[in-house]
Amino acid sequence: MKSALVVFPGTNRERDAERALTLVAGAKVTKVWHSETELPSQTDLVVLAGGFSYGDYLRCGAIAARANVMAAVQAHAKRGGLVLGICNGFQILCEAGMLPGVLVRNAKLRFVCREVRLRVERADTPFTRAYRKGEVLRIPVAHGEGNYTADEETIREIESEGRVAFRYARPDGEIDETDGPNGAINGIAGIYSETHNVLGMMPHPENYIEPAIGPTDGRGLFESLSSAFKAA
């Protein structure tokens, strides 16, 4: 698998993403600077890593969404290529219009870094095949603006089209919005594009991949990606 890791000024979790992509997915990773206008040829997967692109100034992800490289990322997604946006990457995908809705300030108005439980909503996408539907994962979050929201119609649409990827859950898998780390509507932690080739998520699976460091529930996402390309 060939993976392009987009780096904006202020991106700061690109090393974490790179480690997960190489260590777990066995991907060949090329870093792509924000001012580039093309992705490396035969890119399979584009990753927008976490961080504070452009210092989160103006609005999280708003400036990065208009960077040169984003036209190439959009074209890659239109061709059916895979795009994964984690944390700030998710915010950028929303700001770029590649995913619906928006991420606003956490309900408690504070940055939060802690382990949460995520329920896997479907296990038939290239991002989640290594998981079971309904499986509850331990994955950390680290964000100040991860409170997903959208207008009622959009929420109805993404819910009815099965586009919710992960929800914040209790250990038994029950969803309780007030339990989540940020107040996201319906406990939404990650969503897919209409064709399920673009995934944006707030939590950081890339930080839970090595037994020497801690829990490893994040591996499944990268294993899924890896097998998606082995199969193809």
């Binding site: 202020g10 950081h204 090595e210």
Partner: protein, 737 residues
Amino acid sequence: MNLIPNTPRITPELVAEHGLKPDEYQRFIALIGREPSLTELGIVSAMWNEHCSYKSSKVWLRTLPTTGPRVIQGPGENAGVVDIGDGLAAVFKMESHNHPSFIEPYQGAATGVGGILRDVFTMGARPIAALNALRFGNCHHPRTRHLLAGVVAGIGGYGNSFGVPTVGGSVGFHSRYNGNILVNAMAVGLARTDEIFYAAASGVGRAIVYLGSKTGRDGIHGATMASAEFGADAEEKRPTVQVGDPFAEKLLLEACLEIMKAGCVVSIQDMGAAGLTSSAVEMGAKGGLGIELDLDAVPCRETGMTAYEMMLSESQERMLMVLAPGKEAEAEAIFRKWGLDFAIIGHTTDTLRFVVKHKGLVEADLPIKDLGDQAPEYYRPHTDPQPRPVIAAKDVPDTVSLADALEQLVMSPDLCSKRWIWEQYDHLILGNTVQKPGGDAAVIRVEDGPKALALTTDVTPRYCEADPFEGGKQAVAEAWRNLTAVGATPIAVTDNLNFGNPERPEIMGQFVGCVKGIGAACEALDFPVVSGNVSLYNETNGKAILPTPTIGGVGLIEDLAKSMTLAFKAAGEAIYVVGKTEGWLGASAYLFTVCDREEGAPPPVDLVAEKRNGDFVRSLIHQELVTAVHDVSDGGLLVALAEMAMAGNMGASLDRPHGIPAHAFWFGEDQARYVIVAAHGQGPELVRRAEAAGVPLMKIGKTGGDRLALPGERSIFVETLRDRNETWLPIYMGASA
């Protein structure tokens, strides 16, 4: 070139406003042989203030042990550098941002973090961890909540955006910090031992380059503010607090590491306190060279800035660098790529003069050595504090049951869980956090392992107040113990010495006592001081803080698989205490929290026992004979056991002590102690080894169940303890748990 302009006239009032004493000003006149220009007065005030010159502390700092087989760079550079093997070095330092944080907590704390990160990456190291030590006023003081919320948000706001995990620290409350909070920030970076960069300039006629953000009018006289007490006018000093931009700092980090890799850098110095003045003087003075600056080339954020303002601005995220010959174009291209300013603003000379030109005028022409490493220093009068009497256990009434006292302690402001704070810090970024906040020390994997660094910050101010010498020893010993408890070999220390006004002999006495104690402990424990910072004048209206010499300790773990945590792991395992328990209640958390008494001599620190017991515990960890280890400190044995139970979600049944009153046994704060849990069946082996090593070892109970079962007392459920421990701070801060 025109001569130095001499308006306005330098009056005694102007001199006093710059914080210079009349005798210091006379010394300056004698040095330069004429009346200074206003810019020169500003420069000397910036260099000779306490914050930059260490004039009151230097004679004592020189007594600290600063060398050792692992030490590559001791104090005097941007940060200390210690060899950790395999061609790698740990680069670290701690620094205070107390005065600004009291005035404007968010920006004060944020720029404190920014400054210390810059110190570390200036040396060519990529920051891998940040820690802090915070002290606030009494929790009932009307400003405490506001200051705590602001400081925590500021630390998180800067570190999270910059992209360094904030992994540890300490937080305490006491009314003596009501008017002067403490914000001590520590950063740790990783570099290759053969790619370390220093501040000392070398080579005559080399270009001096300004890097980073533009210069504005913020922070002018910040260092002077940090060299004086607060009066009733503290609020008016708000304009002297700088504003941080972590985004710019992140870009500066990446750009600096890139130009270093490209071989463009001869020497480099960050612009911290006293900005351009101090960075330029330090580069020249350390390198034995003169520096000539042309301020017309300085990138400015505002129009019409004077030489005086440019020289004293403390605008953040700026660096000064001596460029390798012929590397101008390459270095500039790298900086432009990152969208940062890059300007050649001067050159090195062989005159040993610090010359500043602006708009065709010489604004300053001063001898550089006298500003820098030959600045004045004082041997200030100091008096030893009255020794406090030793309090016997029988003189402390045990009217509160053990269970009630334990509940009070685990929910006290000092000992409660600080989760509300550290969850606002990204402690996981970079993917190397093996032990997050909440344990004895943070453990951060080095590159891809198996090595790791253990990191901690410690000090017990109430001990230092009661006996500065023993308190200084204890701060070092506790840091050493915390590193040992996770299985690390302690290797070096950074210190951040926070005190009141050194012109008062009793405050200077506290300082001298603590430094002597730190020196004695560092010597005995092979734990050299490689960097540090002194913050004096932490006083408001004549009331000083508790003496607070924060120790930042760094330890090395050779193999992560052999590190240790404090959580109980399995039921039915025997629990032991290592070290002698005598029931010392003087100056204890029990006496303070449960009895509302602040008195008595603190527990003495036996450094020989400290070393012997610690080495014993570390060897048990490395040989996998124990399953949990925790240092015994505030609150004594029972608080340590409660913390182990909460971390492991498992209780313990405890034995009845003999010969010592129960409250003194369980809450006494005798030093050099650890609670350890024997791996199943290894109890006899532990006893045998302890005897052979001459280490006191006593069995005090065994793990298991869902409660702490106290002998002859009501039991406490672990769940109840956790509830008490976790909810105090969120409720206090007005948030739901």
